[in-house]
């Protein structure tokens, strides 16, 4: 269980995390989603006691992480793939961290086996690919058999088989009753793994709900109407309370009225309809809609850039 209350982090004039509060519950996978620079990693580092909050608290299993007598048994974290000395072998890296908690060599070999690193355990970590480094980070997180597992962008650099493995691992850990908190900048990735999602943008919480609710909540209720009688139908729909945009080719984008209501207006106006299509919002669209105002780095349209 992770309880975050009023957590704030400022770097000089820049506010990275702005008074956020949320709870991550055991027995399920909670996704932490937001665009790059939204404050995900900063929040996770504050939970792990690595960064000091400007204000607010982050508690894990009842107390601040640093207050636990045997912290590695409480929380295991993959923070960045490269929190590793490149000159040390994977096994030595794990043995050094294991020693702090009297974790036996048997457990080190076990997590190497679980993460598929046994064959490269005696290779220096500096020679690891991004994916192998990521696996070593996950092995580090699992070392103390922790009640809570925090994974920051765990699928970064993994091949498709590795991505699937992380999904199954997260679900398996949650199934054992552990608290699993994983971040991603890809909503589609989280949707496949998480039960619950916390969406962050520009340091603020934008949504904190079951995955299904986020989709439904952000659905904009857009209906596409194809009609040869757009000239008569559009004003009638506006009169009925809808917002209508007409692209001039007979395709209307209607919001504010649902499909049956639009059909009724069309019947009254004796307008011919060729298509009446409610647009179902996908999770990715819901996410983009939520974070539209919170994106730190925005791309310029290609054509506009080329014209200059």
């Amino acid at each position: 269980m992770i309880v975050v209350q009023g957590l704030t982090k400022r770097y000089g004039p820049r506010t990275a995390v702005d008074g956020i509060s949320f709870t991550v519950r055991p027995g399920q996978v909670t996704g932490f989603v937001g665009p790059n620079g939204a404050g995900k990693s900063t929040t996770m580092r504050m939970i792990m006691g690595l960064d000091r909050p400007t204000s607010g608290t982050a508690k894990v299993n009842g107390r601040a992480y640093a207050q636990h007598t045997s912290p590695l048994t409480q929380v295991g974290a993959l923070l960045e793939a490269k929190a590793i000395h490149p000159g040390r072998t994977a096994r030595d890296h794990l043995r050094a961290l294991a020693a702090t908690h009297h974790v036996p060599a048997r457990r080190v070999d076990e997590v190497l086996e679980m993460t598929g690193l046994t064959s490269v355990a005696r290779k220096r970590a500096g020679r690891f690919s991004l994916g192998m480094g990521q696996r070593l980070g996950i092995a580090t997180a699992l070392l103390g058999d922790p009640r809570t597992v925090i994974l920051d962008e765990p699928v970064n650099g993994l091949d498709p088989e590795g991505v699937l493995w992380v999904r199954n691992l997260a679900r398996h850990l949650a199934g054992e009753g552990r608290t699993v908190f994983l971040s991603s900048h890809l909503m589609s990735e989280v949707a496949l793994t998480a039960d619950h999602v916390v969406v962050i943008g520009a340091g603020r919480i934008l949504a904190d709900a079951p995955v299904a609710d986020v989709v439904a909540g952000a659905s904009r209720g857009l209906v596409e109407v194809r009609t040869p009688d757009a000239v008569r139908l559009a004003p009638a729909l506006v009169a009925a309370g809808a917002q209508v945009s007409d692209d001039g080719t007979g395709l209307l984008a209607v919001t504010g009225l649902d499909a049956p209501a639009i059909g009724a207006v069309a019947a009254r106006e004796r307008a011919v309809l060729h298509a009446l299509t409610p647009q179902v919002s996908t999770l990715e669209e819901a996410y983009l809609a939520l974070t539209a105002d919170a994106v730190e780095y925005r791309t310029t349209p290609v054509l506009e850039g080329a014209a200059r």
Binding site: R52, L79, H102
Partner: protein, 264 residues
């Protein structure tokens, strides 16, 4: 949910730091260089002493004890690197976040580093001196020279390892404060080598007093009979020892204080 019972102790953190130190190749390069520099310079200085036309007269200016401990000047540069790297290497690679995630109290990590770095430098320099002494003995003996069993000889033989431990720990503290390998080594070389020679050009009692309290003078005082010592000048042996301890303790305590406050 049941969980196997792992528990954190300071002994565990100490063992972790030892595993970290011994599993890096750079550590063994530094250890090897230290032994080689101390033993090699002892032998080289002894050979040059006995090759003097009148070795017995030359020994009045450059004693067998000074010859055997003559590696201390170079060795201090090597242990500066060892001390600084023990912590700056972790900041440079990001390992520090793994270390502090495992031991969020942080202070035990620094204390454990003090113990393992101190112990390694002590045994390494003592080994270098023992080998240097054993290799120089027959050379010196052939010219009728020997290490005299007097106080200054003992002070040099015991003082060199102690001095080098304190230099390494000063460097560890400076490294923990600056969190930057090149910065820490530069600062240490400035304090140990550059500043004393530059400042000694200034003809002022004030500046002279400062130079007397810099590591080389303080160490030279309690090592009594080494190439770094200037008998009859500078602080007393005890004052020198206390000064050197202060040099090591101040940056370490300062680092211990800021370590807990800073973001890793």
């Amino acid at each position: 949910m049941t969980s196997p019972y792992y528990w954190q102790t300071f002994g565990g953190v100490l063992r972790s730091e030892w595993v970290k130190l011994r599993t890096l190749r750079s550590t063994w390069w530094v250890v090897g260089s230290t032994v080689l520099v101390i033993a090699g310079m002892a032998l080289a200085s002894s050979l040059s002493l006995v090759n003097d036309p009148d070795p017995v007269a030359a020994a009045d200016y450059f004693s067998p004890t000074m010859a055997v401990t003559s590696g201390v000047g170079f060795a201090q540069l090597v242990v500066i690197v060892l001390g600084a790297l023990a912590i700056t290497g972790e900041y440079a690679t990001g390992m520090i976040r793994s270390s502090f995630a495992a031991t969020p109290a942080r202070t035990p990590v620094l204390v454990a580093k003090v113990v393992v770095v101190g112990a390694l430098v002590l045994t390494t320099t003592a080994l270098g001196l023992a080998i240097g002494w054993a290799a120089s003995w027959p050379v010196l003996d052939g010219a009728g020279l020997r290490l005299e069993a007097v106080g200054s000889t003992w002070q040099a033989m015991l003082g060199v390892p102690v001095y080098l431990v304190l230099v390494a720990l000063t460097s560890l503290g400076v490294g923990a404060l600056l969190r930057h390998t090149a910065g820490a080594i530069f600062a240490m070389v400035a304090v140990v080598l550059v500043l004393p020679s530059v400042l000694s050009l200034v003809d002022s009692a004030w500046v002279g007093a400062i130079v007397d309290h810099m590591p080389v003078s303080a160490g030279g005082a309690f090592m009594a009979e080494t190439v770094l010592s200037t008998p009859g000048a500078g602080p007393s042996a005890w004052a020198g020892f206390v000064t050197m301890v202060v040099w090591a303790v101040v940056p370490l305590v300062a680092a211990g204080v800021v370590l807990r406050r800073r973001d890793a």
